[in-house]
């Protein structure tokens, strides 16, 4: 412990007295932030005019102590005496920069803020949809350009994405589908047993997975795995100006970045969707065999009788469309990143949310459409 440490521990204190008809405040101790304690409040609480502040007991002062003195001097318009620790210089230094500064942005009443936020959200939603549509157009133009100049097609980039989007996802999608198949069969059989129609569990599993769940669950998984990755990758590339560098070299980011990713997802979605449906059926069959005593051979035979082939087409037609939406939402959000790293996170979140939302909306339209064309 050197002497400065000992000095630092002496708390600041004040005493008020009247000397020759003048009110004097005598300060003592250490006027630094660590030792001020409640001195500022006590100084504020003093009423009536003060003529002099006596600093002869003050051993050390920092700018925060100086500021406290400065505001007190300003309030009473008093003078200081007994300065022995360079207080005048510090008080002058903080006095030079005495100017009101707003701490927070101006206060907005809550109702106004809520209305403003709703308006902003509506405008944002509108402009995002418009932007997404424009981005879709841009992708079509890029596709047309690549068709006209096939040499510009980046086969390597696409194949690499095949692996990332498709092959690497097989494990998790398989596991998920298998479990979903089991859940549907189990829940279905419990309800159908009440009517003595447990055999209908096979209809339920077969039709539901091929028509809806296989592709839908795959879409959600791909949006979470690949859509988010696209947004984060492109967003980071935007931040590090890689995308700009690409443009200046004459490479179109649409052709080099967006198209391979979109193509990869569009090709992989039907394959993954089909795979998912099959695994879900296996899961359903597994449960039927274990808990309903339906042997696999009966399960498969019954499946062939009750699941029309157009159920498979319904799933396979939807899959690439969902793929386009997932890839576009991911790439579009990634390309919107401008300011900072924080935005990459936000954009990645909205890419996934947007993709899943649009996929489900479109799925509803598809359901109505396929019923309308008679594929029940």
């Amino acid at each position: 412990m050197d002497h400065t440490t000992a000095l630092m521990n002496k708390a600041a204190d004040l005493a008020q007295e009247v000397r020759d008809g003048e009110t004097v405040i005598r300060l003592s101790g250490n006027m630094s932030i660590a030792c001020l304690n409640h001195l500022p409040d006590r100084l504020d609480a003093i009423e009536g005019p003060v003529d002099t502040i006596d600093l002869s007991g003050v051993e050390h002062m920092d700018t925060i102590g100086a500021w406290v003195l400065h505001r007190t001097i300003k309030r009473w318009n008093c003078k200081i005496t007994g300065d022995k620790c360079d207080a005048e210089r510090l008080i002058a230094a903080v006095g030079r920069v005495d100017e009101p500064v707003n701490i927070r942005p101006d206060y907005v009443p809550p109702w106004q803020r809520v209305v403003g936020q709703i308006g902003e959200a509506v405008v944002n939603a509108g402009s995002t949809m418009l932007g997404l549509l424009g981005f879709f157009g841009g992708t079509l133009v890029a596709t047309w350009n690549v068709i006209r100049h096939p040499s510009r097609f980046r086969i390597n980039a696409v194949v690499q994405r095949f692996e990332v989007v498709g092959v690497s996802a097989l494990g998790i999608i398989g596991l998920m589908s298998f479990l979903i198949g089991i859940v549907i069969a189990q829940q279905g059989s419990v309800q159908l047993r009440q009517f003595g129609m447990e055999m209908l569990t096979i209809n339920l599993v077969g039709r539901l997975t091929f028509r809806e769940l296989g592709v839908l669950m795959t879409a959600i998984m791909v949006a979470g795995r690949s859509g988010s990755a696209f947004a984060a990758q492109l967003g980071t590339m935007k931040l590090t100006e890689e995308v700009d560098a690409m443009r200046t070299i004459g490479v179109s980011p649409m052709e080099a970045l967006v198209l391979p990713r979109t193509l990869a997802v569009v090709v992989m979605m039907p394959l993954l969707g089909f795979y998912s449906s099959i695994v879900a059926i296996v899961g359903g069959g597994f449960l039927c065999a274990v808990s309903l005593d339906i042997p696999p051979i009966t399960f498969v035979q019954r499946l062939r009788e009750v699941v029309p082939i157009h159920d498979l087409w319904v799933g396979l037609i939807k899959a690439p469309v969902f793929g386009v939406i997932i890839a576009l939402a991911g790439c579009f959000q990634g390309m919107q990143v401008k300011a900072n790293a924080e935005e990459v996170g936000l954009r990645t979140t909205s890419a996934v949310v947007q993709a899943i939302f649009l996929v489900i909306v479109l799925d509803a339209f598809f359901a109505v459409f396929f019923t309308w064309v008679g594929w029940n």
Partner: protein, 282 residues
Amino acid sequence: MTPEEAMSAEEERVEKALERDDVAISVRNLRNSFGDQVVHEGLNLDVRKGEILGVVGGSGTGKSVLMRSIIGLQTPDEGEVHVFGESMIGRLDDEALAIRKRWGVLFQGGALFSTLTVAENVEVPIREYYPNIGPKLRDEIAAYKIRMTGLPAEAGPKYPAELSGGMKKRAGLARALALDPDLLFLDEPTAGLDPIGAAAFDDQTRKLQKTLGLTVFLITHDLDTLYSICDRVAVLADRKVTAVGTIDELLATDHPWIQEYFNGPRGRAATAAVAREKDKRR
């Protein structure tokens, strides 16, 4: 002198330095490594109270690692770090708190909290360490700190994302100075600033150092900063501090890196600029 004698003489010198009152930071026998790569080996350095010490070195010589070792963000493999006479290695956060309050750090990018305004950023250390300071006084303190670092009053309610690079550095400096520290760490404060902004920042640093009696540990690549505000310069090379001293003293050594650094084209330009300044004053 036998090697043993040399060792004991060295130890004696080290002991003496530790006892000295005028040393703010003392680093002894520091070793830092990442995997196989040894960054520091047997590094010794003293920072005197009230000086601006510039730390220079080529890329990858561990300037930032040295700073991080001193402020406790990086635990060294070996060695001793004393700040104001207190050992900083292996101390619990709570124990080191008293010392932590006595330093401020300006990180390279400013490292402002992005969800808080500039003024709220400055208030964070005050709020954290001194809850006894009332909200009104705290706002006032933040206000004068902001003005003191040369930011305009309008910068107070702005968020970091709305600031330019130079303003971010100043805001970071205001936060580093929030508790009136005795010791200030600056990591490349002028990097990324235009020459006018960099000169203004140097000037501000010098002024604040004089007003507040600060000890400054300044990592820099900027030769102009070295010439214009640093009292002494420490050169990091060959995994240790190769030389410490005023620029004139450094120029007298014959270490190849130092010679190239100060006598390279940029070094000569900075020297010439300083000479011109001196002529003008005469």
